[in-house]
């Protein structure tokens, strides 16, 4: 579904990512882990078209999307839930969710998906007509994840959705992610919290100072002593 080869990317002259090779197959849940500043968000920003790659290729659903405009990438079925939620604070919860479906023209299905999201996150239904900026942190993250679902992407990339949230909220969000996975959505989980990410994923990659240094099955990685020492502090 997504194949990245020899990707170099960064901001202006500042190269952040070095020779990234990564593959995500249809139906998989893949975890990308790495500490703060490793380049995870830079990679996602590049995949979404907000940054142009310096070199290398990104193939998504059979098409080259390196340097393609963000709106076209969303139309092709690649969406991300950005770090820090980035909700439209002055828009209501409902407007935020509907804006998530902006690239879609299938009105009836959008209405159905809105219902689906509100079943996943009943808290959002209670707050439907409130400005998103007035929600609690956990509710805002639910709204951000819901907005991502509303695009009905083939591949959904989630950037640090657990950051700063209570464990019970994190569980609720990952339970919802499990349900969309069951509907056939492929998921890329980007997390600093290695335990959470690898528990959810089939496979994982480790990004360190802009390079991928390890990859493998999630269960193997969780058992790997190096990872346990470096990221889990065990």
């Amino acid at each position: 579904m997504l194949k990245i080869e020899h990707l170099n990317a960064g901001y202006g002259d500042l190269q952040v990512l070095w020779d990234i090779n990564l593959e995500i197959r249809s139906g998989e849940v893949v975890a990308l882990i790495g500490s703060n500043g490793a380049g995870k968000s830079t990679l996602l920003w590049t995949l979404s078209g907000l940054l142009k790659p310096m070199s290398g290729s990104i193939i998504f659903a059979g098409q080259s999307i390196g340097g393609v405009s963000p709106d076209r990438i969303v139309s092709l079925g690649l969406t991300q839930v950005p770090q820090g939620r980035r909700l439209f604070a002055g828009l209501t919860v409902k407007e935020n969710l509907l804006q998530g479906a902006y690239s879609r023209s299938d009105k009836a299905d959008v209405a159905q998906d809105l219902d689906f999201v509100l079943e996943l996150f009943p808290r959002l239904r209670e707050r439907l007509n409130q400005p998103a900026g007035s929600l609690s942190g956990g509710e805002q993250q639910m709204c951000a994840v819901g907005r991502g679902f509303m695009a009905r992407p083939k591949l959904l990339m989630l950037d640090e959705v657990s950051l700063g949230l209570a464990p019970i909220v994190v569980d609720a969000i990952y339970e919802a992610i499990g349900k969309v996975r069951a509907r056939g959505m492929t998921v890329l989980i980007v997390e600093q919290d290695v335990q959470i990410a690898l528990e959810q994923a089939d496979r994982g990659y480790v990004l360190d100072v802009g390079s991928l240094i390890m990859s493998g099955a999630a269960t193997d990685m969780l058992a790997n002593p190096k990872i346990r020492a470096a990221y889990l502090g065990i």
């Binding site: 979404s48 078209g49 907000l50 405009s69 963000p70 709106d71 969303v74 139309s75 969406t79 991300q80 950005p82 980035r86 909700l87 439209f88 604070a89 002055g90 828009l91 407007e95 509907l98 804006q99 998530g100 902006y102 690239s103 907005r147 695009a151």
Partner: protein, 297 residues
């Protein structure tokens, strides 16, 4: 102050605020969504006035029927200006777009002077002089009058204000425009094409300016330089009302008209000083405006 004078003043405030709302609405939307203080705005108003003047003078079209023509032409011009000129400096600091629009305004005004000449123009229709008498006091030989042309302009202005509000708050495009104004990157991640959203936002703003120009052309004489004053008015109105929403612009226009009419009763030479004194006070005391919102909602 007599009852008739108070009544007439209240009517005048309402009539003035309608047209001023339309004149300031597009300016407010572009500022709020695109973070541009658009100095071309007054030139767009001026072009709208000339569209009405030309259509009326040479084709005999009723000035009210020229409003859609002004709106469509200015919408197109606004789209082209944003798409082909301003779009290239959207990432630059506000001062750059400020100076760019300043330059564009001068170019447009100069071209207008070249093609339309600097003569004062005015439109006189068959109903220009007549008015609706709301109340008359024969003993004092005075009355409360509403000129038909200004009444029509008020109705058109209120209708366009309502339509703009519905466009911004109820439609898919309006939601995308507001999203883009709040968080450009996040809007792109939902699939909005920012250059198109900006071009449409600017086009809507210019279209409204065109309508304002048509309305103003019916009620005052004008020459190519007159639009600049309305850019200033729009600036004051937006600061008064706040950069929040369509209703905020209406509130700002109402406050501005009230000050202008009241000062005019007392000392007609000081209306601008009073309006801008209010601007200064407002910026110091409550910079977020009467309605007080930081961005477009």
């Amino acid at each position: 102050m007599s009852g008739i004078l108070i009544g007439q003043s209240a009517i005048n405030v309402l009539l003035l605020s309608g047209v001023l709302t339309i004149a300031a609405l597009g300016f407010s939307i572009v500022w709020g969504v695109m973070n541009i203080i658009n100095l071309v705005h007054g030139a767009a108003i001026m072009l709208g006035a000339y569209v009405t003047f030309i259509a009326f003078t040479f084709a005999g079209i009723d000035p009210f029927l020229t409003i859609p023509i002004s709106m469509v032409l200015l919408f197109g011009l606004g789209y082209l200006i944003q798409r082909n000129i301003i779009n290239y400096v959207m990432r630059a600091p506000m001062l750059t777009t400020f100076l760019l629009t300043f330059g564009l305004e001068i170019i447009i005004i100069n071209l207008a002077q070249f093609f339309f000449k600097s003569d004062l123009r005015a439109i006189t229709t068959g109903y220009s002089g007549s008015s609706l008498t709301l109340y008359a006091d024969p003993a004092a030989n005075s009355s409360i009058e509403v000129p038909y042309i200004k009444l029509g302009a008020l109705i058109v202005a209120l209708l366009l204000t309502l339509l703009t509000h519905l466009l911004m708050s109820r439609t898919r495009l309006g939601r995308a425009i507001r999203s883009t104004g709040m968080d450009k990157d996040a809007a792109q991640l939902t699939g909005a094409r920012i250059s198109t959203i900006y071009a449409l936002t600017f086009a809507i703003s210019a279209g409204l300016a065109g309508a304002a120009g048509s309305l103003i052309a019916m009620t005052q004489s004008f020459q190519p330089g007159f639009g600049g004053t309305y850019t200033l008015y729009a600036f004051v109105i937006v600061v008064l009302g706040g950069l929040g929403s369509v209703p905020a612009v209406f509130l700002g226009a109402l406050a501005f008209s009230l000050i202008t009419v009241l000062t005019g009763l007392w000392q007609p030479g000081l209306t601008q000083a009073a309006a801008f004194a209010l601007l200064v006070i407002m910026l110091v005391v409550r910079p977020s405006g009467i309605a007080g919102k930081a961005f477009y909602q």
